[in-house]
Every structure is written in C-alpha cells, then in structure tokens.
Amino acid sequence: MIKRTLCFGAILATLLSSSCIKDAPLSPEADLDSFIVDQADLTGAVFIDEANSRVQLYLKQNAFEKGIVPRVVPIPGSTVEPAYGDTLKFDQVTGEGLTSYKITSQDGNYHKTYTVSVVTIGVWAWDFEQWRVQEPNKYMYTVEDNATVIWSSGNPGIALSGVQADPKQYPLRDTTEPYHGQYCAVLETRAGTTLSAFVGIRLFAGNFFLGVFDSRFALSNPLASTQFGQPYRGRPKSFSGYYKYQPGPVYQDKAGKPVAGATDSCSMYAVLYGGTTRLDGTNIQTSDRIIAVAKLPDGGAKATYTRFNLPFIFLKDIEPQMMLAIVMSSSYKGDLYEGAIGSRLLVDSLQIIR
C-alpha cells in the first residue's frame, strides 16, 4: 500500500510517469495471422473467418488431385498445432477432408481451433432451406447442403454494435413465408443502436450477398467489410428468382431525419467480374474489373411473390479467373445508411442461369 501510495505521489508530482508502468502482459490472443497457399492452386483468395474460426479455400481442379501444402502462420507469440508441412487433400464433390489447427496464446490461457474447409459450389441455385444460429452472437446464416457457407450478410458487423443476442434483432434471418419449400430469406431494415450511432450509423439496411464478411473493417470502413463474390467459371445468361417487398413507412436520411415524400425501394443485382480477390461495398458497382451486370430495374413494392429474370449485360468478354456476386438489400441506399425502418424484402429460389 505504501509503495502504491508513493508511486501515485510520483504521478501527482510529475504529472507524467513511466516509472509506474508494469511489465507488458503476455499476449492472451490466439489467432491465425495468415494461411498461405500457392496462388496457382486457388480460384479465389483464401478467407480467414476469425468470427467463426474457419479457413475457406477455393481450389482449382489440379489442387484437388495433388493436394495443397499450406503455410499456417499464427499471430506473434502464439503457437500452432499440428505443425504444418503436411499435404492436405480435399474431396472435389463434397469439399470434405476437414483439417483443424489449434492455436494457443503466448500466456497459455486461450485457445482457438480453426477448421479448414473447401468451398465448392455445384449448382448455382438456392432455396435457402438450411439456416444456422451463430454463437455467441445469435445471428442467422444460411448453409449449403454440404454445410459450407457461401452466403453472408451484414449480421456479423451488427453483432459488434451491442444488439441483443437474439436472431430477431438482426436484419437478415429465415422466415416461414417461402415461395418454395419451408423457408426463405428475409431482409429487414432496422434501427441502429446507441453504439452504432457513435460511428454515425443510425440504420441497418437488411443485406444478403454471395461472399464473405471481413470483420476487420466493420467499424473503420463498414462498406469494405462486405466482400462480394464467389469463384465462377463460364458465361452466365441471367439471374432469376422470386421476391416480395414492402417499404417501411418513414424514409430517413443518414442523420436519422425523416424525408418527406420519399419511399424506400429494394435493390437486387448480380455482378460478374475478373480476378480472384473480392470487390466490396466501395467498388462493386464502379470497378473496371466488372465484366457483366444483371440488375433489377425497379425496386418498388410487391405485395405477392413476383418472379424476376434479369439478363446479364456484358461490358467485356469473360476471363479464365472470375468471381460472381449476388447482392440484395431491403433499402436501395442502405450503403449510405439511408432508408425506411421496417422495409422488408423476401427472396427465394434464386438461380444463375447459364
């Protein structure tokens, strides 16, 4: 106590002190820094999903046959088991061949286990029948028949804003008002939280897209965290599906002020672009890598399920390495944090027609 008191006295006297700074704590963090695979084996960049402890790989044909030898790099101070260097092989149809890596923090108190999976997209058609609830944040996401995850949303970002851990509190979830099957996806524009208002976000537009959510940028540059697209080969003809849309009653601007006379509308589009790295919310509509676009021209209210079949308009020829993104939002200007709270978009039976 006396030592503490003296120490504190020193601060008061000098108003600045480094003498009281203790030794740095050992790092409690256990995470994957990078997962390096030979670029020649990949159709899309490796994605490390820190929130869900998984590594997603997009492999070329020959990589399935000969296997890959990744370099697994944990963050400084932490250690990884098993030591890497082995060849990993995955089944071309199911993507099976799950491998996991356990990372232990420098202080030994924390562990995190990553599973490595290969994302394979057989048929580009979805009925959104299978949904899971993420732990511990309790937001919903949809999975494919082989349990891989290719669809994402803003839900992982909204989980950082202090919303109640309840699937109903998130803009994207399942619902039992399908066009076909038992379930479909519902996107609902919701009010921001007290915490999100601190970073200027007063509205969460419901969004749903083919791609991944990179949490790193969720606060500093939210649009960059929604990364659109999955590896695609060939020449798509059109983007089709069914939707229902009801705009919310009061349209508000970014500051949260009502805008008289304005009505919300939804947006749906598919973008085919060249390369293996993803475009994101900042450049998906403007990048010079865009090859073709299929876009819903009118996002107005639709009281009953309505079919759409949007032809791809090609700006240039297809390339060997391409990605295809489907992006949907319950508020047309949701990326600018404008829209109407309560706007509700239901989508089902989506398909990319070759």
Binding site: D23, P28, S220
Partner: protein, 255 residues
C-alpha cells in the same frame, strides 16, 4: 467507511483538545470561539487507479481540466491549539489523459428502447479520456493551530455529485469481439461516454496545511483522497476501479 472516518476525526479532536486543556488549565483563561472562512482555489489531480494495471502500457499525456473550487468553512477553536472544522464546497474535479493500452477488457451495456445490448471485447491501442465531475463536498476536520501563522487539518469528506463527465475516444488500434480470441476489428477512432455511470456519492480522507500571508488571508493546500471507486461495481467499461485523488491549491479568507 464514513463511520470509520468520523471515529478517527472525533478521536483526534478529543485527544487534542483534552491534552491542550490539561496543559493550559493552570495558566490561561482561554475561551472557545468560532471562525468563518471563505475558501477558493483549483483542484489538481486525477481520477485514477491505485497502481497501474499491466494493461496500461504508456502515459502519453496528462493535463488538469479547469477545476475551480469555492466553499465556506466553519471552525471552532476548542483550545489554544486544537479545534474542529466543517465546511461546504462546490468542487470540480477534472483531468485529461492520453494513454496506450494493450488487451484492455471492456464491457459496454446499452439500452435501446426495450432491449438491452452488450458489447464485450479487449482493446489494444490509444485512449484519450476526459473526466470532469462536480460535487458538493462536506469536509470535516480536526484542526491543529501551532502558532499564528500555520494551521493544519486532517479528516474526511463526503461528496454528492451534481454533474458528471467521463468521456473520450479510442483510436489507432483494434478490439477483439468478446475477448482475446474474438475476431479482430480495426478501430480508427470511436468515442465512448460513461458519464451517466458515475456514482452519485464519493467519500474519502482529506488533509491540508494553511499559511497566513496577510491579516486575514492565507494560502492553503488540501489533499482529498477518495476511497470509493467513482463507478459502481457492476460497471465493467473499465476493468479496474478509479478513485478521485485531487490536491486543492488556493486561498482562505477569514471573515
């Protein structure tokens, strides 16, 4: 705690007065009398932890916020050298600090309409905090007056908050959602405001010295050391308790 402080105070006063009276019994004809003083000055100090936790890696800057104090003190001189005092003060206690933290644990609870949300995480990066709380303070002291020029006091205080400010920014770092193994979220700059969490009541020890510089004017210094954390124990925005420790420098005027 208050009982403890008042016990010390009463004991000190009684011992002092008694010994003084015994010593003077034979000689003088001292009669107890009252004194009134106006106190004015500034508070310098910090709302700070007792000893730095190892999650604080560097202090990059400190400055006192504008923290005036103004009050009135009533004292009774029970004997030649001993007496007691009670006062009432308007007390601003403020400071600003810039520091760097590593793996700093925080839980922020927010109420949105009918739902309560929570964000928990560990932050690594820079922090800037401004704390400026205002209190109505009631100090009670035993007073020792060895001669005409000096006056010393020691006792405790109780303080009721009437305005609170505890806000700042975090920047140039990252937060891991949920704890050390959560996903990394880059933080360029984000604000926080814990003003509404600051407790209404503060209590502690205080003591000081006063030197007469004019017929009625004295300069004084008085250290007030809070013993009750300024945030309630269920507040988890910061994972260590903070205490008000402030030195008042000012003047007193005898009226």
């Amino acid at each position: 705690m208050m009982r403890y402080i008042s016990k010390i105070f009463i004991t000190l006063t009684l011992i002092g007065a008694a010994s003084d009276l015994l010593a003077q019994n034979s000689t003088s004809t001292f009669k107890p009398f009252l004194e009134h003083r106006i106190l004015a000055g500034f508070n310098f100090g910090a709302t700070a932890p007792m000893g730095f936790p190892n999650t604080i890696r560097a202090i990059d800057g400190y400055w006192p916020e504008f923290s005036p104090t103004l009050g009135y003190e009533l004292s009774v001189r029970a004997s030649q050298k001993w007496g007691a005092a009670i006062g009432v003060k308007l007390d601003f206690k403020g400071m600003g600090i810039k520091d760097e933290v590593q793996y700093f644990h925080t839980i922020i609870t927010v109420q949105d309409g009918s739902s309560t949300g929570t964000f928990e995480g560990t932050f690594t990066g820079k922090n800037k905090t401004i704390a400026r709380n205002a209190y109505v303070t009631f100090p009670i002291s035993a007073v020792f007056t060895p001669n005409n020029n000096w006056r010393f006091s020691l006792g405790g205080y109780m303080a009721w908050k009437f305005s609170a400010n505890f806000h700042g920014t975090v920047s140039d770092g990252y937060i891991r959602n949920g704890g050390p193994t959560g996903e990394k979220v880059i933080v360029d700059e984000a604000t926080f405001d814990f003003s509404s969490e600051v407790r209404n009541f503060d209590v502690g020890f205080q003591g000081g010295a006063e030197r007469r510089v004019g017929k009625k004017l004295s300069v004084l210094g008085n250290l007030a050391w809070g013993v009750r954390p300024i945030f309630p124990s269920d507040f988890q925005g910061l994972d260590f308790p903070l205490y008000n420790v402030f030195l008042m420098l000012g003047v007193s005027y005898k009226i």
